[in-house]
């Protein structure tokens, strides 16, 4: 038993943090929201260079994965730095194709996965178990859709639907397009991909919440009113303490889900991380006062993400029903033993 990141996993997280800190992600996010993908694409290449997109792709198709723990570490960093683009969706698309290949339908995987893994291509998708919008379809190389038991490459997409977070660019895929696969294997793979999408979103939400907390703690230490730092007031301290509690109890659920990747565990992580990040946003806004309510302040980039991430790829209500639909747990044995196995 060692429910802690290994030194290599922690070092991977630190190197991503350092890279993204140096990359001036806020201006890339602003450009992305305005329709200029150039700085975002540069960021994407750095992530790809660090191997992030290979983590969800099996080795057979040019990847290093599946490595959900490392992927969680990476997506937390993506959330912390508000990296724009369909990171989660590319991961989910990789899971979809790998899931299909796992059931013997390996044509699409052979064709699309190597480029997704290297970062040379990015994907976005819609699944029966998600919303109707494909995130960032305008910048994606592949726009995948699953309807019923058919997986297709959509021929195009409609007009931009503005999200509450302008850096999330939403489009409805057009019907039709090349049929990549059909049948029960597609349904199974779509369920698997939905779990990976929820899982990666949970990690992104956790990172978003952590960024909101960090920035707010720094702010209340230097903002003074009544002759003292507002961070010295107990009402302020207690709200931030609650924010930390929310995030720190979401973290183990995320990594627990990484180790089992069961639908119920992923739903628990998604629910908790999404709610914790949204609560962090509420607190961050309140404790910044009016300056927090401006789009000029970089804080707004995370503030606007928190609510969409809470609801994307599994609303809280949907996640709760998944938790209760999970296997009845044997209350004692290593929790959810079936999934965790013995060693």
């Amino acid at each position: 038993m060692r429910f802690l990141l290994t030194e290599e996993q922690a070092a991977f997280g630190r190197s991503l943090e350092a890279m993204l800190t140096a990359a001036d992600t806020p201006s890339a996010v602003r450009a992305w929201a305005a329709g200029n993908a150039v700085p975002g694409n540069a960021l994407w290449e750095r992530l790809a260079g660090a191997g992030v997109f290979a983590l969800a792709v099996p080795e057979t198709y040019g990847g290093m994965g599946p490595l959900p723990v490392e992927l969680a570490v990476a997506c937390v960093a993506v959330g912390r730095h508000a990296v724009p683009g369909p990171v989660v969706e590319t991961v989910a698309a990789a899971a979809l194709l790998a899931g299909l290949a796992g059931q013997g339908e390996d044509g699409p995987a052979k064709r699309l996965l190597p480029a997704l893994s290297s970062g040379g291509a990015r994907a976005t998708l819609t699944l029966p178990d998600g919303g109707p919008y494909a995130l960032d379809a305008d910048t994606a190389t592949y726009l995948l859709t699953v309807r019923g038991d058919e997986l297709r490459l959509a021929p195009g997409y409609g007009a931009l639907h503005a999200s509450a977070d302008p850096a999330r660019r939403l489009y409805r895929p057009e019907a039709g397009g090349e049929l990549l696969a059909s049948g029960p294997a597609v349904v199974t793979a779509a369920g698997y991909a939905a779990d990976w999408a929820a899982f990666a979103t949970a990690a992104q939400a956790l990172g978003t919440g952590l960024a909101l907390l960090d920035r707010t703690v720094a702010y209340v230490k230097q903002r003074t009113q009544f002759g003292t730092a507002v961070g010295g007031f107990q009402a302020v301290k207690h709200r931030l303490a609650d924010t930390l509690i929310g995030l720190e109890f979401a973290r183990p659920l995320l990594f627990g889900a990484a180790l089992s990747m069961t639908t119920a565990d992923v739903a628990a992580a998604k629910l908790t991380a999404g709610e914790a990040a949204y609560a962090a946003a509420r607190t961050a806004l309140q404790l910044h006062g009016a300056v927090g309510y401006t789009e000029e302040l970089d804080l707004s980039l995370w503030l606007r993400k928190a609510r969409p991430l809470r609801d994307a790829w599994g609303t809280p209500s949907h996640c709760r029903s998944r938790v209760l639909a999970g296997p009845v747990r044997d209350a004692s044995p290593g929790g959810w033993r079936g999934a965790l196995g013995r060693g």
Partner: protein, 381 residues
């Protein structure tokens, strides 16, 4: 990173499970907060101890099995899943014992720990005073030097189970002239039946009579019952509160089992159309799992050599809020029957309401989190 149990841990689990299946009383014992329940629970402690299950993490010489923290967690999971009785000796085992392991002499450990493990001597915690709750360092009960020991005078209060317990441990002012309130305090163990001790039971909110205040009038305590150096009482006491908040007081096994029972209750009597209630049941399941995994992460850190710190306060606030939400959900599921005082959920509910008060109030814990974990300015406290 993994969550895998070793074969040894699984074997230990199987052994504990088999023993519990055979020995856990078929019918729940009366509440340990009553006189008859206290006696029944003391007998249960002796039964546990006879087969070395009462203090599995202690060294064998004191009645334990010397198992590590992961096996301790495994044992707790089995213990609660089996519906075994509450631990009447928990103050001693969770609070005094870790202090003794860190600060006592070998003679004290040999004398005090074995009868604690067997339930022969049950301990009460005598920390709070009428004027000193959250501001514990302001305490006024004193210990005055005398031949071969100390004379205790003053008043302690809110002492759980002190009405029926045998001995107590607490901190006392030994140097009233010390420049700061945290200084000049000494950690002492004393006999609740000694001359000069008067116990007055205080009915709790749930009417249970084991809570008590303790009046002390020149009670003699021999030198051998001083823990650590005189004057160091505050440091010694604080070095073990982390254990209480962070780990031992509310083991994850308890909440996993309770959430499991809640799901069963929901499956048998929940209204499928009531999605608001369904959501709260799901939250209870998720919360128990989060708490279990948080504890496993902490245990992994301890196993890797770190010590428990201010993060114990995260734990304390989480489990106390969680415990209330869990019980409120159960009462709502029970509908009209939720009001009946005798049910396990109703009893648990009243008790859960005390969680944010004892073991350091949640307001104080949030201050600790804000100041020590987030680095916010220290307030007046």
């Amino acid at each position: 990173m993994d969550l895998l149990h070793t074969f040894e841990e699984d074997a230990f689990r199987d052994e504990a499970r088999a023993w519990l299946a055979e020995h856990v009383p078929a019918r729940p014992l009366p509440s340990l907060e009553t006189r008859e329940g206290f006696a029944a629970h003391r007998a249960w402690e002796a039964r546990l101890h006879a087969d070395r299950w009462s203090v599995v993490s202690w060294p064998r010489e004191y009645g334990g099995r010397g198992v590590d923290i992961f096996k301790w967690l495994v044992f707790e999971e089995e213990y609660f899943a089996a519906g075994a009785p509450g631990r009447v000796s928990q103050n001693g085992i969770n609070l005094l014992a870790p202090t003794l392991f860190d600060h006592a002499t070998a003679e004290q450990r040999a004398r005090v720990l074995p009868p604690m493990a067997s339930g022969e001597v049950i301990w009460a915690q005598a920390w709070s005073e009428p004027e000193s709750g959250s501001d514990l360092a302001s305490l006024r009960s004193r210990a005055v030097r005398t031949d071969g020991g100390w004379l205790l005078s003053g008043q302690k209060t809110w002492s759980s189970r002190a009405a029926f317990a045998d001995r107590a441990f607490g901190i006392f002012r030994t140097d009233p002239k010390a420049p700061k309130p945290h200084q000049g305090l000494t950690y002492l163990m004393f006999d609740l039946r000694a001359d000069g001790v008067t116990i007055r039971p205080i009915g709790r909110l749930d009417g249970k009579p084991a809570f008590a205040e303790i009046f002390l009038d020149e009670v003699f305590v021999p030198d051998e019952d001083v823990v650590g150096e005189p004057g160091q009482g505050w440091r010694i006491a604080m070095s073990t509160t982390g254990n209480e908040r962070g780990l031992t007081l509310r083991s994850p096994g308890r909440f996993l089992a309770a959430a499991q029972r809640l799901v069963q209750l929901w499956r048998t009597s929940g209204d499928p159309a009531d999605t608001a209630l369904r959501d709260r049941v799901a939250d209870a399941v998720v919360g128990a799992r989060a708490y279990q995994l948080f504890t496993y992460a902490n245990a992994s850190r301890f196993a890797a050599g770190s010590v428990i710190g201010a993060e114990a306060s995260l734990n304390k606030v989480f489990w106390s809020d969680y415990d209330i939400a869990l019980h409120e959900t159960a009462l709502d599921l029970l509908g009209a029957d939720g009001e009946l005082a005798q049910g396990e959920w109703a009893e648990g509910h009243v008790f859960s309401l005390a969680g944010p008060i004892y073991a350091g109030t949640n307001e104080i814990q949030r201050d600790i989190i804000a100041e020590r974990l987030l680095g916010l300015p220290k307030g007046r406290r």
